[in-house]
């Protein structure tokens, strides 16, 4: 058995207690952000005709229209913090369908982080597993996201922002309709249920009426805006409407992160073997 399979096999042998813990603590992986078309794709499809559940059916339609079997792009990430600008580039690959996907994010620049990679393995029944490969140490590390409100590797995303959120963990309500950037949108309030721990009290989601796309997400702590994620540069790529630029504002720090997607493609053929720790090691060495 290869090393990565061993590790994965170990993962599947986790105790139910471990699984529960990880499910509870961390449905929170960068695939949601890095895979822009799948943002909030986990909101489940339980549509029932009431005002509140109408909001759910909108979310369900968002998921439906953004589904793809694979995804690849080259991305740039720019963090603008107190006049200091940090740039990074990476290649992102995802394979698999909702709830059972694997993805690899490999940094290509700057030189200090070149070869650093993240392997994300999603599971339909529990939270994802992640490993980070560090070529200079020649070893992988399991990433345990225990503190979801902290920033993700110096960006303005928090770990929680990267979660694939389960629709059952939130209540939705249509607040109204509004034009944003000249486009008609539904404004939907998303509020975590009591059992779900979140740094945010609630979030406001702006969904484009024409293509069922998220345009903006604002997250609040009590009544104070904590983060705003804006989607721009929309284009239809191989039949999937995608916002190719994300701007995240950390309202408390005043810093911004701009993420741009280049050479985006969907539904390419990809091998399962490319989504293993062995592959990371191979590519990193």
């Amino acid at each position: 058995m290869s090393n990565d399979k061993k590790i994965l096999a170990t993962e599947t042998r986790r105790t139910p207690r471990t699984q529960n813990l990880r499910s509870r603590v961390s449905r929170c992986f960068p695939i949601s952000v890095f895979s822009v078309s799948r943002w909030l794709i986990l909101f489940s499809a339980v549509a029932v005709p009431s005002f509140a559940q109408d909001a759910r059916s909108i979310i369900q339609e968002v998921q439906k229209r953004n589904r793809s079997e694979s995804e690849r792009y080259e991305g740039t990430l720019q963090v603008i913090d107190n006049k200091k600008v940090t740039d990074k580039r990476w290649i992102y690959k995802r394979k698999g369908s909702f709830g059972d996907s694997k993805s690899v994010l490999t940094f290509t620049a700057p030189a200090e982080v070149k070869g650093v990679a993240l392997l994300i393995v999603n599971h339909p029944d529990r939270a994802s597993d992640q490993w980070m490969w560090t070529p200079s140490l020649e070893r992988e590390r399991r990433i345990a996201f225990q503190d979801r409100s902290t920033r993700f590797f110096g960006t303005d995303f928090s770990f929680e922002d990267l979660e694939e959120r389960d629709v059952d963990q939130s209540d939705f309500k249509v607040l109204g309709e509004e034009k944003l950037e000249g486009v008609d949108c539904w404004v939907i309030d998303s509020r975590p249920k009591e059992a779900k721990q979140s740094q945010y009290t609630n979030s406001k989601l702006w969904v484009r009426k024409d293509h069922y796309l998220f345009v903006q997400v604002e997250s609040y702590v009590k009544d104070t805006l904590a983060r705003r994620i804006s989607y721009t540069d929309f284009a239809q790529v191989q039949g999937v409407w995608t916002g190719r630029t994300l701007t995240v504002l950390d309202a408390r720090r005043g810093s911004r992160t701009i993420m741009k997607l280049e050479k985006l493609s969907y539904n390419e053929s990809m091998k399962d073997d490319d989504f293993t720790i062995q592959a990371l090691r191979r590519e990193g060495s």
């Binding site: 207690r17 940090t86 990074k88 940094f107 650093v116 399991r142 225990q146 503190d147 920033r151 110096g154």
Partner: protein
């Protein structure tokens, strides 16, 4: 107050020197007490504070001794309900190679999950100062330093710091700077953070963690979560609050603390006798005043209050100056204690300021010492004050009567001393019970003090013929002066006796320790070379992979290489040293002297992994017996093994358990090594092989090679350092003794000024007066010395017993320190003579008329 102003103040002013000398007793007592305890507490406090600061919001810490544990334990801990955050930690002390910067305490953490445990308070706001958090994780040379350390070394982001690692000297890159305060102030700012996985590599930890820090979820109690983790992990792990680390550390330096406590008590006792002496003399000298005051209607209470108030004021002044002296002493001692702890345990606590420890503790200590100084002063003056109060005005007017001790009093003291001695001896019979033993010790000292006047008188009478033979007139006068005023002499002799008792005790313990350690080194510590990861043998920061031993084994000229792991583990709640080595090989090379058990059997059983060999000191401290089954917790479960042998071993003060390496490697899942013992083929030069090893590994590994002689020198140096404080105490004791003699002589001469004047008036030469005083001083010194040696011989027995039973479990042979005793004769007698020079000159230089008019 009126009496104080009209009677006491003029007297004190007139006898300013004596007042100062008396107050010096308290100054010294309080000073030593404060100095030693403050220094000790500051170092201990610094350690605890470091632990607290770097613990952050950590509520529980999980460890498995020095060995650490496998990475998989982290997930098991994270899975325990009630655990909010569980973050892996590697903690190491590493030497920076920046000039004059010493060691850095390095905390290896996983920054992806550690932020909710510790506030890193980065310099330029939040995480941004880790210039790039991803770079920090990606590059194993990343390090975050404190702003204090950065400022001292002119470091900025991306500056380089050279440090010794398991891969040789490496440059680390500053990728973040923590703001001053909080965690960044730990270890005096010599604190740094790096990635836990990089730390594993740098410090040779393989895929192991030292510790897991845990924060508990809301709604769960810390105790419940602790129990849940203990259940999940089993008994091989210690789960405790961060503050418990301080407690463990404290237990490691218990020997030092006990020594300090005994010294402090003795210092105060000596101070008390000096005060008693001075007040007893003051009462004598002022008996006319007392008589007149009583005749004029002053009540006994008023007289008593007058003297107690004087002692109270002297106590306040002496204690205040003593506090200042103590703080100055503490500064000097702190570096010493810090250095001692570093060399013994590899934890450097130097660089912390006095009072940097818990301010409440230091405040309490200073307040307590102040109160103790004042109370000691008043207690010492209590008997003279009572005597003054009960003085019969008629006797008060009869010169000289008050310095004598009545037959009745002598008898009473004698009987009391006999009774106390009998009880003390009885206590020895039941000495197995600690309170009874210590009570007996106390009674022995009390008995000796009760007997002091009688013995002093007796010895002086015996000395009289000798003094007469030396100088017929002067000798007789000197002896008679002491015989006629035993009360004046007794307190000085008592102070001198106590001081010298301490000297004999400490000197005896030091000598016995040296003797035993040297003998042990000869039999058990005989490898030609010892290869370690640190110049400080006690440091456990780095570990070797076992492959290093394998390579050394194949080097030319090498006969045997013994792989040794020596982690500190928790055994029955306290840290001990576990030495894992191939026991069969030890039997061939350096079997320790057996104390219990058959050597062949014990080594065979231990070698087969069927038993443990305990060091005698561990057996003494933990009451272990041959054949006793003990539970030894390991990360893979509890080892239930018998003690198959008890041997003489001085490897560690807390005690050592010897286990076969194969069993250790299995149970601890650790094949790393702390050191290698290397035996060479006959005729092969250790220096040549040493160089071969250094050539092979020195450039890219943290490796030190000690020759056998280096090793012996190192251990003797440690022993020297350990007893260094004793030597300081010996010096202080001798100083106190001299102070006491000067005080007594000054008082004696003042007291006898008229008598000396009369002698001069009837034709005595100045030289005769001088020589009388010199001889008197030497006689006091000799009496105190003889009694000090006597009591010291008993005291040494108690010290060795305390060392065996409660401190280090060491069974040291009783050996009276003859060389120290011989050295004390010229030192004390010379000091006595020197201290008599001033008073003698003052006696012969004064106006004869004034002297005759005196009193």
């Amino acid at each position: 107050m009126i009496l104080l102003r009209l009677i006491s103040w003029p007297y004190l002013r007139k006898h300013l020197l004596r007042t100062l000398l008396t107050t010096a007793g308290i100054v010294l007592g309080v000073g030593v007490l404060v100095g030693m305890r403050t220094a000790n507490q500051t170092v201990m406090g610094a350690f605890q504070s470091t632990v607290d600061k770097i613990a952050g919001a950590t509520q529980l810490q999980i460890s498995a001794g020095d060995t650490g544990f496998e990475e998989s334990v982290l997930e098991r801990v994270q899975s325990v309900p009630g655990v909010r955050v569980a973050s892996a930690v590697i903690e190491a002390v590493a030497a920076t190679e920046l000039p004059g910067q010493g060691n850095l305490l390095i905390l290896g953490v996983d920054m992806t999950g550690d932020r909710s445990l510790r506030d890193y308070s980065f310099e330029s706001g939040d995480e941004a100062v880790i210039d790039d958090p991803l770079v920090f994780l990606a590059q194993p040379d990343s390090i975050i330093v404190t702003s204090e350390f950065a400022a001292r070394n002119h470091l900025a982001t991306n500056s380089k710091i050279p440090m010794g690692t398991m891969e040789g000297r490496k440059q680390f890159t500053v990728r973040g700077i923590m703001k001053a305060g909080g965690m960044a102030s730990a270890f005096g700012g010599n604190f740094a953070v790096m990635d836990v996985y990089a730390a594993q590599k740098v410090f040779g930890r393989n895929r192991r963690f030292d510790r897991i820090d845990v924060a508990v979820k809301e709604g769960h109690t810390v105790d419940d979560v602790r129990r849940a983790i203990e259940t999940e992990l089993g008994p091989g792990f210690t789960v405790e609050a961060p503050s418990s680390r301080g407690t463990q550390f404290e237990s490691m330096v218990a020997a030092h603390r006990i020594s300090i406590n005994i010294s402090s008590v003795f210092a105060l006792l000596i101070g008390m006798f000096i005060i008693y002496n001075s007040f007893a003399i003051a009462v004598t000298q002022r008996r006319y005043e007392i008589g007149i005051l009583r005749a004029l209607g002053a009540s006994r209470g008023q007289i008593r209050t007058l003297f107690l108030m004087e002692s109270f004021i002297e106590g306040i002044i002496g204690s205040a100056v003593g506090l200042l002296l103590g703080l100055v002493l503490a500064r000097g001692m702190m570096g010493y204690i810090g250095g001692l702890i570093e060399s013994l345990y590899g934890v450097d606590q130097a660089g912390n300021n006095v009072l940097s420890a818990d301010p409440y503790y230091i405040g309490g200590l200073l307040g307590g010492a102040f109160a103790l100084g004042v109370l000691t002063s008043m207690f010492a003056a209590w008997i003279p004050a009572n005597e003054a109060a009960s003085l019969n005005p008629v006797i008060a007017l009869q010169k000289g009567k008050a310095q004598a001790i009545s037959e009745q009093e002598t008898r009473a003291r004698g009987w009391a001393a006999v009774a106390v001695g009998v009880v003390a001896a009885a206590c020895l019979l039941f000495g197995a019970y600690r309170p009874i033993f210590y009570f007996g010790f106390l009674l022995t000292i009390v008995g000796a003090l009760l007997l002091t006047p009688t013995l002093a008188l007796g010895i002086t009478r015996l000395l009289r013929p000798l003094l007469r033979r030396l100088r017929p007139v002067e000798g007789a006068l000197a002896a008679d002066s002491l015989i006629q005023a035993p009360r004046r002499t007794a307190a000085t002799v008592a102070a001198l006796m106590l001081s010298l008792t301490m000297v004999v005790g400490f000197g005896g313990v030091a000598g016995a320790s040296y003797h035993s350690i040297t003998a042990w080194m000869t039999t058990a510590l005989n490898p030609d070379l010892v290869v370690t990861t640190s110049a400080n043998l006690a440091s456990r920061t780095y570990r070797f992979p076992s492959s290093v031993g394998e390579e050394i084994r194949h080097m030319e000229g090498v006969r045997i290489v013994q792989d040794v792991s020596a982690p500190r583990i928790i055994f029955r709640g306290k840290p001990i040293l576990l030495v894992a080595v191939e026991v069969g090989s030890i039997l061939q090379t350096a079997p320790s002297k057996p104390v219990a058990g058959d050597p062949a059997t014990m080594y065979r059983e231990a070698s087969a992994g069927r038993g443990l060999i305990a060091a005698d000191n561990l057996a003494q401290l933990r009451n272990l017996h041959l054949g006793e089954m003990v539970d030894l917790p390991s990360p893979t479960g509890v080892l239930h093994l018998p003690i198959v042998g008890i041997v003489e071993d001085y490897s560690d003060q807390q005690g050592t358990l010897l286990i076969d390496r194969a069993l250790y490697t299995r149970a601890w899942a650790d094949d790393s090594c702390s050191l290698f013992r290397v035996y060479l083929n006959q005729g092969v030069s250790p220096l040549v092989v040493r160089q071969r090893i250094l050539d092979r590994f020195g450039g890219h590994s943290k490796l030190f090679v000690f020759t056998n002689q280096d090793l012996r020198d190192y251990i003797l140096k440690i022993t020297d350092q350990w007893f260094g404080m004793s030597y300081a105490q010996i010096f202080i004791a001798i100083f106190v003794a001299i102070l006491g003699i000067v005080n007594t002589l000054t008082v004696s001469i003042t007291d006898r000024r008229r008598e000396l004047g009369v002698l001069q008036a009837v034709g005595a030469l100045r030289n005769q007066i001088r020589q009388t005083i010199w001889m008197e001083a030497v006689a006091v010194g000799l009496v105190g010395l003889l009694m000090g040696l006597g009591l010291g011989a008993i005291y040494l027995y108690y010290m060795l017993e305390i060392l065996r039973r409660d401190v280090a479990g060491l069974r040291l042979a009783y050996e009276f320190p003859v060389h120290i005793a011989l050295l004390l004769f010229p030192v004390i007698l010379g000091a006595a003579l020197l201290s008599a020079l001033g008073p003698a000159e003052s006696a012969v230089r004064g106006s004869l008329v004034e002297a005759l008019e005196y009193e």
